[in-house]
Symmetry: C2
Subunit: 108 residues, 2 copies
């Protein structure tokens, strides 16, 4: 639980980014981050088990969408806005502009 892999901006791949954002749970994480700023994993009320949530954070991280910064016993997640915008101008903005509700456990 020390340092986690983060791709450099030049290693961002569009299919990876789109795949990471195509999951409703991951999309809700990204929307929350965009709306409220950096937050630890545990502050997200996700309708899945802890290990599954961890999996989703990992997908986002490895696609280059979020940065996970260790802080004490937690990880502070933040959107890699600048880098995503630099690599794929307008993409994140367009996705965030499209409103979508947080999925309930029943809806999954």
């Amino acid at each position: 639980m020390r340092s986690l892999y983060h791709p450099s901006e030049t290693d961002f791949r569009l299919p990876n980014i789109l795949h990471a954002l195509s999951d409703p749970i991951r999309l809700s994480i990204v929307r929350e981050l965009a709306r409220t700023g950096a937050r630890s994993c545990g502050t997200f009320d996700l309708p899945v088990a802890k290990s599954t949530a961890s999996h989703h954070f990992r997908i986002l991280r490895e696609a280059g969408i979020i940065h996970m910064h260790p802080m004490g016993s937690q990880y502070v997640n933040s959107l890699r806005r600048t880098e995503i915008d630099s690599r794929f101008p307008g993409l994140l903005e367009a996705i965030l502009r499209a409103e979508e509700s947080v999925p309930s456990k029943e809806a999954l």
Copy 2:
């Protein structure tokens, strides 16, 4: 081979759209369509079997990304640009624009 399902604009779902575009083959189809205009399925030089290509066209169609118009024995595929832009402004533009900044590594 008569009429195929096409969702109405209000039924477009962002996760479906993103998932459809997260596959390199489908992304290449969309890029070709954007670049050259409407074309039949057979004019795409895809590295997969005919049935697999058909599957990919179906995913794109059911997500609302393409329209498949029967014409003789073929289907003419076209991007549903206006409707996608209306529902998710800037999304398609950002994705198509990203093509130019994709590094030369690992094509498709």
